[in-house]
């Protein structure tokens, strides 16, 4: 079965081709269902492979299948090949599963859009690229998927291409990603030069003797790759594209900018856990960046009013969590959180989308409020998502997040602190969004209010499914009691080598005293609930508080509200300066200097020519003179020499 893994990316590609090439005349329904079915099929295959893996014994749960040689040049030999192991299977299931749900949701959400077909073509293309990314068995193919998803995100963000902001956002996303990919690419080159191969298995096999633990080389490699990760997964300093990416249709935000693509970085880091484990410095960097991002993004999230932007920043913050997990060596927990996050963040986005849908495109929470009556399902599911992300027991987020916090604490209490701060802020702004949207008195603009309606079942059903998933999704990996953490155990073989390096031979994950674990659980639960009450107090009990706070610290609020002016700084620092410099080069160097010289030579020639004309006076005596002058020179040379 697992040798049919190539079917998984193939199905979406087929769907994409069908819709894209011959789907011009088809009705929306067909197009939509073809798209969804394609992804669904991939899910089925992935699931069956998963079951097959379960059947095998943990040691041998890693199967490679090469389709054909892609690039062969000298000793460079890159196959189109796939790697099936617990990690990739999990990713495939998440991607195809969530992807399928979102496809279905889109059928309803995008109904009647002009570019309906274009939308589904891109979406399928994206799933194809994403699946390639997670199933590739070598760096270069992974890079193909890596850039592929970037392209699709560019296309989908710019879906409403007539909106300048949209196409700008798309471009920004692609370029910023390119900056990351630049690092990634160099990393790949360095790996090839070091190992002479680009296959994961080959690299991992050779790593111990090719690299020294904590050596410069491995550190360099891992850091370069991490640059790629920061780009794709919107970490400091390359996160700026993600908030703007909300210009795309909401399902896109749900699929690409919450559930799947942005997690590619996390997947990559954990895929290379071995290398990272060998480079403590890089680990620390990853952890620090992750933690910092988690807090930083959360602070911005608190002040935003655009519901999708709130979610976007929360996504960045959650991704920070995952990286922190990887950074502290808890790769499994990172992936675990990745999965749960996929569930509830997708849910939240789609719920938000349904709200938009209901309010005919309104995104500003200041014009919402009291919607829970009108939009019962949406309301309920959104609550579920919020509870999950805030980490309320027994929702999915609770387990994954606490696992991360625990390991962070084990590594160093500071990381735990960061996580905790992020957590409280998260739960605060999430509940804030809940209250501002669904509670309090309605601030909906009248004309929006006119046709205010709950979304059709085609949209609500996916919501419900995801709501359920975000409720029970965490149960597959209950951390405390060893043995119950099936998820961790399932992934364990993948990370075993890394763990071995990290804490020597003896210890492995999940071996620690219960009391501490429980204590931390309690604390974080408290934090979550604290966030809830704070939000409730500020937005339900006494809505005037926020303004008071703002007027208390206006500058602070300004700064945070404007995302610390990072975009502006970047513009000044890089964009404008380069553009201005390029203009200078064009005008001052290309036109002035080079062409100046070229035309100058021509001009000089003409000048001499005119001079020579003047000599040609037309007077015989002058001509005779010049002849005589010639005589003088010739004779002079001959006689006096």
């Amino acid at each position: 079965m697992s040798d049919l893994v190539w079917l998984i990316p193939l199905f979406p590609l087929i769907g994409c081709a069908l819709n894209g090439l011959i789907g011009r005349r088809w009705p929306e329904k067909i197009i939509g269902w073809i798209g969804s079915a394609a992804v669904g099929a991939s899910f089925v295959v992935a699931a069956s492979i998963f079951l097959e893996l379960l059947g095998m014994d943990p040691g041998s749960r890693s199967v490679e299948t090469n389709i054909y040689t892609w690039i062969l040049s000298g000793q460079l030999n890159v196959p189109i090949g796939f790697l099936v192991d617990p990690l990739s299977v999990v990713m495939m299931m998440v991607v195809s599963g969530v992807g399928c749900i979102i496809h279905v949701y889109s059928i309803g959400y995008m109904a009647g859009e002009v570019g309906f077909r274009r939308y589904f073509t891109y979406l399928n293309l994206f799933v194809f690229a994403m699946l390639t990314l997670v199933s590739a068995n070598n760096f270069l193919l992974m890079f193909v998927g890596w850039e592929g998803v970037g392209l699709c995100s560019y296309l989908l963000i710019g879906y409403y291409y007539e909106k300048k902001s949209a196409s700008d956002a798309g471009k920004k996303a692609f370029v910023v990603n390119r900056v990351g990919d630049f690092g990634f690419l160099i990393g790949i080159l360095l790996i090839f030069v070091t190992f002479g191969t680009l296959n994961f298995t080959g690299v991992f096999a050779a790593a111990p003797d090719k690299l020294t633990h904590g050596g410069t080389l491995v550190t360099l490699i891992t850091l370069l790759l991490f640059v790629g990760a920061t780009g794709k997964s919107a970490q400091i300093p390359l996160y700026t594209w993600l908030p703007d990416a909300m210009e795309g249709p909401t399902p896109v935000s749900a699929l690409i900018h919450a559930a799947t693509m942005v997690t590619a970085g996390v997947y990559m880091v954990s895929r290379l856990s071995l290398l990272y484990a060998m480079a403590p410095v890089s680990m620390t960097v990853v952890a620090v960046i992750g933690g910092a991002t988690a807090v930083y993004a959360a602070t911005i999230g608190i002040t935003q009013f655009d519901i999708k932007r709130v979610l976007a920043y929360s996504t960045i913050s959650q991704l920070g969590y995952m990286f922190m997990a990887c950074g502290v060596g808890a790769f499994a927990s990172g992936i675990f959180h990745l999965m749960t996050h996929a569930f509830f963040k997708a849910l939240l986005f789609m719920a938000a989308g349904s709200v938009m849908h209901a309010l005919s495109g309104e995104l500003d929470m200041r014009y919402m409020g009291g919607l829970r009556k009108k939009l019962p399902y949406t309301h309920l599911t959104y609550i579920f998502g919020t509870l999950a992300i805030a980490g309320i027991f027994p929702f999915a987020g609770f387990f994954s997040k606490d696992e991360i916090l625990f390991f962070a604490f084990e590594r160093h209490w500071a990381f735990w602190a960061l996580g905790a701060i992020a957590a409280i802020m998260t739960s605060f702004y999430m509940f804030r969004s809940v209250f501002m949207t669904f509670y309090g008195e309605s601030r909906v603009t009248p004309e929006a209010a006119k046709h205010l309606h709950e979304s059709p079942p085609i949209m609500t059903i996916p919501l419900v499914i995801l709501a359920i998933l975000s409720l029970v999704g965490g149960l597959v990996g209950i951390p405390i009691f060893a043995g119950l953490n099936r998820f961790g155990d399932f992934l364990a073989p993948v990370f075993a080598p890394a763990q071995a390096i990290l804490h020597g031979a003896h210890a492995e994950a999940g071996h620690h005293e219960i009391t501490l674990e429980l204590g931390l659980l309690a604390v974080s639960l408290a934090i979550a609930i604290g966030g809830f009450f704070l939000a409730r107090w500020m937005y339900i009990t006494d809505p005037s508080v926020p303004d008071k706070v703002i007027s208390e610290y206006p500058d602070l609020h300004e700064m945070v509200y404007h995302k610390y002016w990072v975009d502006e700084i970047y513009d000044v620092l890089f964009v404008n300066s380069i553009v201005r410099f390029s203009r200078f080069l064009w005008k001052a160097f290309d036109d002035a200097v080079i062409d100046g010289i070229v035309n100058g030579v021509a001009g000089a020639m003409r000048g001499w020519a005119r001079g020579l004309r003047r000599v040609q006076t037309g007077l015989v005596k002058d001509y005779a003179l010049s002849i005589l002058f010639g005589v003088l020179l010739v004779i002079g040379y001959l006689v006096l020499r």
Binding site: R606, V615, D622, Y623, S626, I627, V634, Y637, L638, V639
Partner: protein, 481 residues
């Protein structure tokens, strides 16, 4: 009893034929009514064709005749071909021109024939006296031809300038000859050679050599003896300009090469360096000055100066390679330049109108084939393959590199890059610009068209299949060394 000199009329037959043809034309001129130039032209052409045949047997000769005044060898044979081609094409393109210009003069042909005869004597001369007589025969004929357009100040001015400066130059030439005579005791080239080899030249002889060099330098129009060229070429009747630019150049170069390589052997270094400098300066001045010319005849005049520079490289390079390259170049240049001037004649209007480069605007639209021909000639002048001009330049440069004159070659290639600008400028006018006035239709005179076709075919043919001609040139110079 006076010893009877051995008279070998067979050897000088081609020249003789031309002289006779000239006399016949004079005779015919008395009977053929003016305005019926076609007949006289035909007579001349027949004479030329006969001369061609009479020439053929020279190829296998190598002997001196007339008490060693002339030498009959393939070298002369090859140049006779060049000269006959030149005069033939010139006569072909002249008929209509004369009609247009309203000068029905059979003397025109007579003088052309005499001039050609003079050239032939010059190229096969083996004695400075013979060279001098031949040279003056052709010069005086050309003086007259240059000024033959009745009551046209420009034409007269051209004739006058050419005559005065020509006289000046031959004065210098003769003085040089005199000094050499004083040193060597005789002016026959073998004797001079003997002198140069036996003793190292006295200062006086060196001075004489220098003056001789100047004399030739004037005829081949190299800097700084070139200044008459643009004026004379502009003022003279276009066919005569064409004839001058190829015929006179060819003959002068031939004699030049013969004298210097046959007589001044062993002292090449001393004059080669002078020629090196002259060649370099000539290429630069000729090409640069041509950049800003507006009158196409004047532009071609400067271009011919530049080409004299290239040909001179052949002499600098010296020996078989150099001189054979020189001969091939002369042949290629004859076809090319005559072709170009044939176009100028065709495009030209009565009273030498339409000789501005701007008058060629839009020619490609009005007369595509004519423009194509002109383009071919210009490309050949610029030395762009696959034309005769390219092979010519190539062989010249090859010889120079062979002799180690890299810098001269570099100057050569750079200057020909410059030349591309003004040659392509004409192409540009023809193909890429539109005339501000609708051009009146040209009438294609059969003679001119024939000349044009011959030239065009020649340029392309000996450009693509140069082997035969290169070998011929190589053979012809064997006897020189």
């Amino acid at each position: 009893m006076i010893p009877v000199p051995e008279v070998n009329l067979g050897g000088i037959l081609p020249a003789l034929v031309l002289c006779i043809a000239g006399l016949v034309v004079i005779g015919a001129g008395l009977f053929v009514p003016r305005g019926k130039l076609t007949y006289t032209a035909l007579i001349s052409l027949v004479g030329i064709i006969i001369a061609f045949m009479a020439n053929s047997h020279l190829r296998y000769m190598n002997q001196s005749a007339f008490a060693g005044l002339v030498v009959l060898d393939p070298y002369g044979w090859f140049l006779n071909i060049v000269i006959l081609t030149a005069v033939g094409l010139t006569i072909l393109m002249s008929v209509r021109y004369l009609a247009d210009e309203g000068m029905q003069l059979y003397e025109y042909f007579v003088l052309l024939l005499f001039a050609s005869a003079g050239m032939m004597f010059m190229v096969s001369a083996n004695h400075l006296l013979m060279i001098f007589v031949g040279l003056e025969t052709l010069s005086i004929s050309i003086y007259i031809l240059a000024g033959i357009r009745p009551g046209k100040p420009r034409s007269q001015e051209a004739a006058l300038k050419y005559l005065l400066l020509g006289g000046f130059a031959s004065g210098i030439f003769l003085y040089g000859a005199a000094l050499l005579y004083g040193s060597a005791g005789s002016l026959s080239l073998p004797v001079l050679a003997e002198y140069c080899q036996k003793w190292d030249m006295s200062l006086m002889a060196k001075a004489g050599m220098g003056l001789l060099l100047v004399g030739f330098g004037f005829k081949i129009a190299v800097v700084p003896f070139h200044m008459w060229t643009p004026d004379v070429y502009e003022g003279a009747p276009t066919p005569i300009t064409a004839y001058m630019s190829v015929g006179v150049k060819a003959a002068a170069f031939a004699a030049f090469a013969r004298v210097f390589f046959e007589s001044f052997v062993g002292v090449e270094v001393s004059w080669a360096i002078i020629l090196w400098v002259i060649a370099a300066v000539t290429m630069i001045v000729g090409n640069v000055a041509a950049l800003v010319q507006e009158n196409i005849k004047r532009m071609l005049a400067y271009s011919s100066i530049a080409h004299a520079g290239y040909i001179l490289i052949g002499m600098v390079a010296g020996r078989e390679a150099g001189v054979s390259a020189l001969l091939y170049y002369l042949l290629a240049y004859t076809f090319t330049n005559l072709g170009a001037f044939a176009v100028v004649v065709l495009v030209g209007r009565k009273g030498e109108a339409n000789v501005m480069i701007d008058d060629y605007r839009g020619l490609a639209k009005a007369h595509p084939l004519l423009a194509l021909a002109m383009a071919i000639f210009l490309f050949s002048l610029a030395g762009i393959p696959p034309t005769a001009g390219f092979v010519g330049k190539f062989s010249i440069f090859t010889a120079a590199v062979k002799a180690g004159y890299i810098w001269l070659v570099i100057i050569g290639v750079l200057t020909s890059a410059v030349s591309v600008f003004y040659y392509f400028r004409v192409v540009m006018k023809m193909y890429m610009e539109v005339p501000d006035t609708e051009p009146s239709a040209l009438q294609f005179a059969p003679g001119t068209v024939v000349a044009l076709v011959i030239a065009a075919v020649g340029v392309v043919y000996i450009g693509i299949f140069p082997t035969v001609y290169l070998n011929l040139a190589a053979e012809s110079v064997k006897t020189l060394f």
